[in-house]
Symmetry: C2
Subunit: 162 residues, 2 copies
Amino acid sequence: MLRLSKLTDYAVVVLVRLGQPDAAGDACRDVQTSPCIAAATGIPEPTVAKVLKTLASGGLVGSQRGARGGYRLLRPLDAIPIADVIAAIDGPIALTACVEGSGNGCSTESLCPVRGRWDPVNAAIQDALGAITLADMQEAAIPRAFRIPALPPSGPALRAAE
Amino acid sequence: MLRLSKLTDYAVVVLVRLGQPDAAGDACRDVQTSPCIAAATGIPEPTVAKVLKTLASGGLVGSQRGARGGYRLLRPLDAIPIADVIAAIDGPIALTACVEGSGNGCSTESLCPVRGRWDPVNAAIQDALGAITLADMQEAAIPRAFRIPALPPSGPALRAAE
DNA sequence: CCATTCAGGACTGATAAGGTCCTCTATACC
DNA sequence: GGTATAGAGGACCTTATCAGTCCTGAATGG
Ligand code: SF4
Ligand code: SF4
């Protein structure tokens, strides 16, 4: 049903969470750890760690090792299209086996009358997914109140997007 | 990798083939049988039959039982959007578990900050897939020879350019 | 020196897709 | 009317992929 993998979905959730440093509370400062995000999102910790590791290797988040380490966004949310997240987790978007990028050709490639005709469809999907950024997903994350005014923004308020 | 199921891909191939009665040759007349299409496309016969049965139940193709029976298109190719084929084979398009249509909710639905925000993405995909019809896939189906396979894109008047 | 935290992979179980086959029904032709 | 053909509709199994867990090692801060 054209369903994207659950890991990719989790990645979006985690990234949106990473983009809200004020929502993290005192437990996490400018970098957020895997257990912290796991507790905040309800996703099991090992899965969060796996997703974050994949995202880090994909260049979407930066990591800080050692004590007081964690992950932080390398780009603001509105600069991360969803297509990027999908590509980082699930690999390049390839609807069928005959689009450029996936080496595994199908067995009927020689006779298939629509061989290669999926490319524009693939491009259309990729374009649609590239036009939507994580900021669009975040917009409704804060429904009406900005946040629970539990802690004042006294801490390191926000380090900008870098 | 946002890959649609192979059965859906086969359905598109089969439907495009069904839309070319002249290419079928003498073996198949106005209706085409499963083995005929299977031989023409290279897809195994049982799979073709399965796809065609699913498409028939989905209302995309008409069937004629009995001897000299077969399948035929109920709509011209340019009236069948790809989204229709996907919906007939794989069910409704639902990128994640929290979009409307798929009853299986995810476990983190209560805490997820992007719950419900996938709907516009889903709609964008569906719109993109609804705008492309099978006729667009058929355009380059007959490059210049009728059934010489493995044709390099060296032809002059190809509509590639994607 | 030690606690913390990420890196990276290996491993396993669950799930669903892909593919095959069988039986039954309907139709055309002999 | 009989028979061959061809689809309808499922049951079945086989396999691939994903999701999830865990372990070891390396880096960093205290
Ligand atoms: S060559 Fe044809 S059957 Fe194979 S993946 Fe491409 S469209 Fe599908
Ligand atoms: S509620 Fe959140 S985690 Fe669950 S499917 Fe929707 S976006 Fe994904």
